[in-house]
């Protein structure tokens, strides 16, 4: 099992990631990119007429969670929101 992981680690990780500083910075950057992508994608979906349950299902989170995170911003931005 350990060997399998080591082989795959060696196969898939670029050389830079032997430095933990680069790996940790990549985590932070990916989180930031994911947040930016989520903001833009949710707004685009709602402008295209998606409902909260549809967006939530696509993101794999609850409707309440997606609503809590994005509703205020989208309402203030004047994005038309479908209830269902």
């Amino acid at each position: 099992m350990t060997n399998w992981k080591l082989v795959n680690y060696g196969c898939f990780m670029p050389p830079e990631l032997t430095d933990p500083a680069d790996a940790l910075a990549a985590v932070a950057a990916l989180r930031r990119l994911a947040d930016q992508l989520e903001e833009a994608a949710v707004e685009q979906a709602m402008r295209d007429g998606w409902s909260w349950p549809e967006v939530a299902e696509a993101l794999g989170i609850t409707r309440q969670a997606v609503h809590k995170k994005h509703a205020k911003r989208l309402i203030e931005a004047g994005v038309p929101l479908r209830r269902r």
């Binding site: 990916l30 930031r32 833009a40």
Partner: protein, 153 residues
């Protein structure tokens, strides 16, 4: 209100706007650095090549470099920029708290606190977005610390 309070308030207000524009829920050290660069008392910073545009370019470079290490291109997707409305964030993130802790530890009392102490508190971080961005952009962080603290390099 003391001059230092006015200064810190101005920096934080600018930093809040930077964080807001960044889509960040918290103020981080790099937002404070940008806040310092656009607030007053920044002539020395600009003289050291750290104007707002240079800092933004360095931060963007760090973001793109960090993504590239895992094979992700920041420019690979094209979605409309999300609309940002509401109030800019007010909470300090971990890196900003550390910067303030380091700034306050440089001054023995609050009366001794000067604008440069916050800058030094940010520059002192050896791990995180700011030191990586500065290093990738070719800045010598220890030399900057020596320059701003008035110590010989």
């Amino acid at each position: 209100m003391a001059a230092i309070d006015h200064y810190l308030n101005t920096v934080i207000q600018h930093a809040r706007l930077e964080a807001f524009d960044d889509g960040s829920a918290t103020l981080e050290a790099h937002h404070l650095l940008l806040g310092i660069a656009v607030a007053g008392e920044n002539a020395e910073l600009i003289a050291a090549g750290l104007g707002p545009d240079q800092i933004r370019a360095a931060l963007q470079g760090e973001f793109e470099h960090s993504l590239q290490t895992v094979g992700v291109s920041a420019a690979a997707y094209r979605l409309p920029k999300p609309t940002r409305v509401g109030d800019p964030p007010t909470s300090l993130g971990a890196s900003a708290k550390l910067a303030f802790d380091r700034a306050f530890s440089r001054a023995r009392t609050k009366k001794e606190l000067r604008p440069v102490h916050l800058l030094l508190g940010i520059l002192q971080a050896e791990i995180g977005t700011v030191p990586r961005a500065l290093a990738l952009a070719g800045f010598d962080r220890p030399a900057l610390i020596a320059r701003f603290s008035g110590d010989p390099a």
